[in-house]
């Protein structure tokens, strides 16, 4: 089954991005596809390469990037939400790309399920 995932919160203030990541990982482990994760609202902060959590904390920016590299997940950051929050190509961590909200609607159209995580 194809799962599209929408992440609407950043990696630290809310648990939403952690839950989304755990869901995506579990789905992939079960043999499902996660063709695209779309980052919207403060979710665009998941793509910030300057994010530097302390060494004993999980680093979601890197975890998402690793998932993308290993499992071919398309990590898309909303251009409009990103612009508001200063996320642009220069600040993108590996694995992420910037595109339009249309990519979210397409994920909804093309996947069997669109899973939403927010606050």
């Amino acid at each position: 089954m194809k799962f599209g995932i929408l992440v609407n919160e950043g990696p630290f203030t809310h648990q939403a991005s952690d839950t989304a990541y755990q869901f995506a990982k579990a789905a992939l482990e079960k043999g499902h596809d996660v063709p695209r994760v779309f980052f919207y609202y403060d979710g665009v902060n998941n793509a910030n390469k300057y994010s530097a959590p302390q060494a004993d904390d999980r680093n979601l920016v890197k975890l998402w990037g690793a998932l993308a590299a290993e499992k071919n997940v398309d990590l898309v950051v909303c251009v409009a939400a990103g612009m508001r929050r200063g996320i642009q190509n220069e600040s993108l961590a590996p694995g992420f790309r910037i595109s339009g909200l249309g990519q979210l609607v397409e994920a909804g159209m093309g996947c069997d399920r669109l899973m939403m995580f927010g606050d």
Partner: protein, 111 residues
Amino acid sequence: MPAYTVNGTDYEHDEEGYILDVNNWNEDLAKVIAQEEGLNMTEEHWLVVNFLREYYNEYQIAPAVRVLVKAVKKKFGEEKGSNKYLYELFPYGPAKQACKVAGLPKPTGCV
């Protein structure tokens, strides 16, 4: 900040040429922006630019290209209501270029 100078007044714009204060727009300024864009403003250009202004004033947002095409068709007839026609008027894209001339914020390119 770079600026357009029109009749002795400076209008600040961003790196891509979009004016910073939407409320400062006037027709003389539009002509200067169009000139910078290499556009020769015909009556048909003005129809689109004025439509964008009216739409923005009513809804506080620039229309999606699909909406623009549909609205132009409704207002000015079948042959003008096409992407092709709008691209002929604004070769760098009706959304981006016409919005710039109309003094609207830069479309985020969501579609």
